[in-house]
Amino acid sequence: MSAVVDAAPPSAKPATDGRDARTAWLLTAPALMLFVGVLVIPLAMTVMLSFHDWGQYKGIEPVFILKNWHEVATDPYFAEMFWRTFRIALLTTLITAVLGAPEAYILNRMSGRWKSFFLLVILGPLLISVVARTLGWALLFGGSNGLVNKLLMSLGLIGSPLPFMFTETGIVIALAHVMMPFMVLSVWAALQRVDPQIENAALSLGAGPFTIIRRIVLPQIMPGVLSGAIIVFSLSASAFATPAIIGGRRLKVAATLAYDEFLNTLNWPLGAAVAVLLLVALVLIVVGSNALIERRYAEVFR
């Protein structure tokens, strides 16, 4: 999110001194080695893997073919799955933005003690495993044994259990819950940069509460909402635990599909192709929207 808002680093003085440059390399070497060792090399290997062949009986063959990519590109199953993945991510992002931005705003206006309390309430879930949180949703809504479903049915409000498990709606709701803290934090950070007197300034000029929100507050926290949206979108599109628990094997998204190819079908090359495609798509979307946002707000928030 800092990429969006603090977009302009002071232009660094070009290193004229050779010794300075050497020192810089030396100092960054450990981090660089770690980065190469745990990220670049496995990534390169995954990309390579996606071009290998695989057969039920012969296993992985280290040859260079486009079979997996061809399959991913032509089989409508994959198109549907990717489309579902991004639809879920987009809906989750929308929900977190629509609920999270007002939440952060209200939180920011609370006075001292309540503020810290509710901040804890909102951030607390981050301390609990995603699996536990998602299972909570499953307990509440899962089939006819879910608590809420049982209650509603015994009250006679609904005839059959609300569909939640193995539905996109279920995944979106559970994901939105999981991702909410990231959106709230991001908007919260943007709110910290808003002059505390600015609403009074608008008020003194005759603006009503709704106008103040729409014309003064919202435009200023928009960069925060957008950077939160980027975080939530990319985390949701690559989320594994929540879609795995709620969607199961019936409703697959990119991450759960790649997992299945790796661990159940054992078709590693195909799984690698799916994983690489997800990664590339996400990088393109994130970098693209970040660039757009930066251009849009460069003039104002530099």
């Binding site: 002059d195 007197q197 600015i198 009074n200 300034a201 608008a202 008020l203 003194s204 000029l205 005759g206 603006a207 009503g208 106008t211 014309r215 003064i216 435009p219 200023q220 003039e299 104002v300 928030f301 530099r302």
Partner: protein, 347 residues
Amino acid sequence: MSFLELDRVAKQFGAQTVVDDFSLTVGKGEFVSFLGPSGCGKTTTLQMIAGFLDPSRGAIRLEGRDLTAVQPAKRGLGIVFQSYALFPHMTAAENVAFGLEMRRVPRSECRERVRATLAMVGLAGYEERYPRRMSGGQQQRVALARALVIRPSVLLLDEPLSNLDAKLREEMQIELRQIQRNLGTTTILVTHDQNEAMSLSDRIVVMSQGRIEQIGTPQETYERPASAFVSQFLGKTNDFAATIDRTATPGRLIAGSWSAPAPAGLAGPVTVSIRPERIGFGDAGLAAKIVTRIFQGNHWLFQCESECGAVIVIRQNDGQPQPAEGEAVRLAWRPEDMSLRRAGAAA
């Protein structure tokens, strides 16, 4: 006469009384400053006038109408905040136009008034700039234009110049005063800078710990301070002990080897308060030795050790020879230049 009136206004935050018993009447077109150290309740008082805070007690009236019953958005006051509180996502012109838009001023009139007001504060040609691209002084002008364009009945300024460097501040003071004179807008300025208060205001309200210490013209507050706090807060002052001897007739006021006929009233130990520029070096008077002598361009500053304690003397640099450090001198002043308080009277 009274345009804006504050009647025994008080503000409490929990158990803490931040402003108490604040009564003031401001005439139409008058420029009044609230002067006091940081934390004395100036901003709180201003925000009660603006309507961002409700007074705990007392009444605020504008042209006889009860102002506290009016929504802040409907009070029609112009406010310049210490942080300027400009809308960062709007250009200078959009910032200034905002108040007019809220008043549904027709577009062409709005454009013309924005242009004229920005020109008045010296920002013609800066209409399309965003605040982040402007200097502190320019932002401050935009904030002033934004407050003035709505033709406010009262202009409230909360330490508007404190974020500017000294030279710019002086320029802005002169400009602010000119603009205020031309428009005739009733203005209240909050400041902790006594020079600013004195050079801008018709009257100064000196505040300390939420209470009014004195209300008066700059000259009155400087030359006839109502309390030790006022005399010390407004410029340098010398306070030292003296006695009034009533055994002789007529009675005499004695400070070391300086003495003068005693004024009527007080007797016994008193505190003499005198401005450093009113003390001269003479042949008779308070015996003192010059400890340090500091040259400050248009004047000299002497720190002296006298019979009655430390005394500061300021002399114009008028080309006359001045006493050197270590030299023994006699300090004298005209009795009418000093003010007397009973010793131990509240500071």
